[in-house]
Amino acid sequence: MGERFESVADVTERLRAVDYLADDDIASVAYLADRLEKPVLVEGPAGVGKTELAKAIAAATGSRLIRLQCYEGLDEAKALYEWNYKKQLLRIQADREHETSWESVESDIFSEQFLLTRPLLEAIRAEDPVVLLIDEVDRVEIETEALLLEVLSDFQVSIPELGTIVGKQRPIVLLTSNNTRELSEALKRRCLFLHVDYPDVEREKEIVRVRVPGIDEELAEQVARVVRSVRTLDLKKAPSISETIDWARTLIYLGRSEISPEVIGETLHVLLKYQSDIAKARKELVEK
């Protein structure tokens, strides 16, 4: 059982200390993840701070963050471990002059120094406290998902040539998903589930104030309200939290202390990335 956090309130406070504002759901799940030693599946639209959460938890608990970025075609060799084939070849070729027995060569080339550890194995073997982030897990194929499942439930790996490696400690594990496909029931069953959505005005305002030094409350409030307004439009891609922060920073750099339609008009491209979205927002907010 993990003891990294004392209580839910403790989570909120310590995440806050590393500039991450957690709401009730987020703090409770982070606390549970530690206590129950279960992986957390974090779902939500792009840019609401899913990856950021893992970084914040690592920072707050003084752990090392190990990140496995998923993509289509990710396999065992890239996620778990791989033998360094080229180095093994070199080793064999270097040995050609001396008459060494095959047994000694074999035991030699299948040893630690020829092993390439990938993020999962690294997390299992870690001696120090670790947060494992498996990013965009919805991109991998079903087979790789099954591999993840196996590793996450036992937290051990067997490598035929080296034997079974058992984790010394249980890291906090976060899996993020943009929900481009439905994940398997089995995976969901084993994870705690957390849906992160765009924050309400109050929380977004606080986030802006924490992340953008030098912004006053008035402007932060205006920023949050305009962003809420933009999100109600029917857009291809609604502005993410990081885009909100970027926008607030832009306003500060430009020395604007108040938001007017003109200011929005000239900085809208920081908030929105599709031409059609920009045109739509401009029509609704600036020209009306």
Binding site: D24, D25, R181, L192, F193, Q222, S229
Partner: protein, 473 residues
Amino acid sequence: MLDVLQGFVHELRSAGLPVSMTENLDAMTAMEHVDLRAREVVRSVLAATLVKQRRHRPAFDTVFDVYFSLFSPAAEDRAALDLPDELFGTAGGDVQGGGAGGDLTREELAEMLLRALQSMDLDELRRLAGMAVSQFAGMEPGRPVGGTYYLYRTLRQLDLDDLSARLIEQARARGEIPDDPLPGRLAREEQEARLRELRRLVEEEIRRRLVADRGVEAMARTLRKPLPEDIDFMHASRDEMLALQRAIQPLTRLLAARLAQRRRRRHRGSLDFRRTVRASMNYGGVPVEPKFRRPHPAKPEIMVVADISGSVASFARFTLQFVHAMASQFSRVRSFVFIDGIDEVTRFFEDTDDISEAVHRVNTEADVVWVDGHSDYGHAFSVFHERHEREVTQKTSVIFLGDARNNYHASQNWVLQSLQKRARHVYWLNPEPRGYWDTGDSIISEYGRYCDGVFECRNLRQLERFVSTIADA
């Protein structure tokens, strides 16, 4: 606690949420680690362990509110179970007595509400919401009406539109809203958010009193709403229509991604010689890693022929919307709609990105009435045959949508027979429950004889399953 939790899980299951054994155990273990006095934390913790689908969360919240509300279990049981009062929500002060606030006029109450909304004082708002419910809802113990009825009565008396207008007016009078459109818009949105909060509080209050009156079990039953994917197309209320509308987009996206992945994985494509040789350089010329070309599998072509007469209009609308949202999975999607005449509507969907606009144009502009505007499948089909038969090829799947209620006209089912010979597949989707088929003027089996499959398709779940099979075939 365990008993309460088991009852809660049981209720979730009857509401249609899948809760597995493991999840149930997790929830129990989790409860050992949290302070039961923090109600919102308990809610989050239970949600994290029991609900693994975002769209199930609203249903979860309702059940939670009912189950862990002021009146369940009774106070004496609670003490016996050693459960803290805080878990069951805060009492609304004096609002419990039905008479409280009874002396206030509507006008006075509105005035107080305005002030509370102005300062966004949540406790005060909750108290006022309680008063409003006592005064306006006219709740009578034991009366078998749903919560929505009381909600409607309360909100009508409160007149939210009027409140919102007055809020804005007051703010303007204080100079908080300049006349510019932008700040005006932002202020308006803020007021709307506050009024939504008020509405939520009123709803919560009504629910709480209903639980007090009828007990948890009965209450949970009346609140049970179908999940979006289980809503029946033919009998959806307006709110349910909206829920369906919202559910379609993510559903099609998920399905498209899944199909694309499945199709790509099925065969690997031919050997890419150049890349294989290049990769072999890494291993001293041994082709350890063969490389393959990306496969480009052929996609099926779809023709949808939909009955859009009154009785099945909403079904046709959702299906067209669904199929067109999936257009990237097919090499071509063409749609035809009919009542007793038939018209091609593909152009409406191709002109625009906005599918709801296209559906609107289908309903208003398509030329589908031939004689009297009552379904005549036979005539519509023979016209379809005459105009488009040649365009149906070995690659085409033809999908008919409708209840096959033909108003006793001639069936002309030879059209389907001839189409079945030309096309790759002919399917029929019927939005009626299977038990109603072939009753009255329904002649589904006359058409079904020449189809490769006739499917019951009453909700999104069945529709999704069907689309996934044809995209694969």
